[in-house]
């Protein structure tokens, strides 16, 4: 079983790597860490504390923390859905923390709901559908490639700045610009 300290350290490291911060309110933060641990203990993976998980890995994959929606949410609202990860503006008090709309597509919410986890669900290919506007970006310094809506604030591998990212456009000929 993972300890609360481990979960917190994991989040701290992840925030640092991506240029984010953790929730500046110590009680709020602690509640989320406890929630993540509860999910890890009961499901075997730390799914989002603010979303209803099914306990089935295939159905919950997109909401394992940090979820697929964190980056676009921090980009748009300065925080993730749970407000575990926040931007610099929020930490500095220039932007309020507040409830934000759910970005997770309704089909995924529906699928995870009523039914008990079936152990036999076939592993789906990780195909990203039209529910996102994700693009490929690469770090011109170290070559790290990422698939998301906007280039990251900084490269999680070599810490290069956002300006050092280029978009990869895939066509019949692969072009890089």
């Amino acid at each position: 079983m993972t300890s609360l300290e481990n979960i917190k350290r994991r989040a701290e490291n992840n925030a640092k790597k991506h240029g984010y911060f953790l929730n500046p309110d110590p009680d709020f933060l602690q509640n989320l860490i406890v929630g993540l641990k509860e999910n890890e203990d009961r499901y075997g993976f730390a799914s989002c504390p603010c979303r209803l998980g099914s306990g089935n890995f295939e159905w919950d994959r997109d909401i394992i923390c940090p979820c697929d929606y964190r980056d676009p949410d921090v980009e748009e609202f300065g925080q993730c859905f749970c407000a575990l990860y926040v931007s610099k503006d929020v930490v500095e008090g220039k932007r309020p923390m507040q409830p934000i709309p759910e970005r997770r597509p309704q089909e995924k919410v529906d699928r995870a709901i009523g039914k008990a986890p079936e152990k036999t669900v076939k592993s789906e290919a990780v195909s990203e559908t039209s529910d996102t506007n994700r693009k490929l970006f690469y770090c011109k310094v170290c070559g790290y490639v990422t698939f998301r809506e906007e280039p990251p604030h900084k490269c999680p591998i070599c810490q290069a700045k956002q300006e050092m990212f280029g978009e990869i456009v895939l066509g019949t000929d692969i072009q890089v610009r």
């Binding site: 929730n23 929630g35 999910n39 979303r51 209803l52 575990l84 919410v109 529906d110 709901i113």
Partner: protein, 94 residues
């Protein structure tokens, strides 16, 4: 499906909270209602059976909203998604 009843001096309204036991905003909502001395009932939707979840899902859908937490239903008519303090206050006439 058992609702947990929380006592409060302000009990003119029927306040039902759908929450998750793990969610930070849900905890804030519970703390706010408690500190404001508002009587309410809640269900931690992560702790109930799949069939019961489906019932709640349908209930929220029927009211024209999306399943997200916390969801607060006041007097069986006003539905508020998320811990929106101002909207909660207004619906409770505070």
């Amino acid at each position: 499906m058992d609702r947990v009843k929380v006592k409060g001096a302000i009990d003119k309204h029927q306040v039902l909270l759908y929450a998750l036991s793990t969610c930070g905003w849900c905890k804030m909502t519970k703390a706010y209602l408690r500190d404001s001395d508002i009587a309410y009932e809640y269900i931690d939707v992560d702790k109930i059976t799949p069939d019961e979840r489906e019932t709640i899902h349908q209930d929220i859908k029927k009211r024209g909203s999306r399943l997200a937490f916390p969801t607060i239903i006041i007097d069986d008519k006003t539905i508020i998604t998320g811990f929106k303090k101002d909207e909660i206050k207004k619906a409770l006439g505070l």
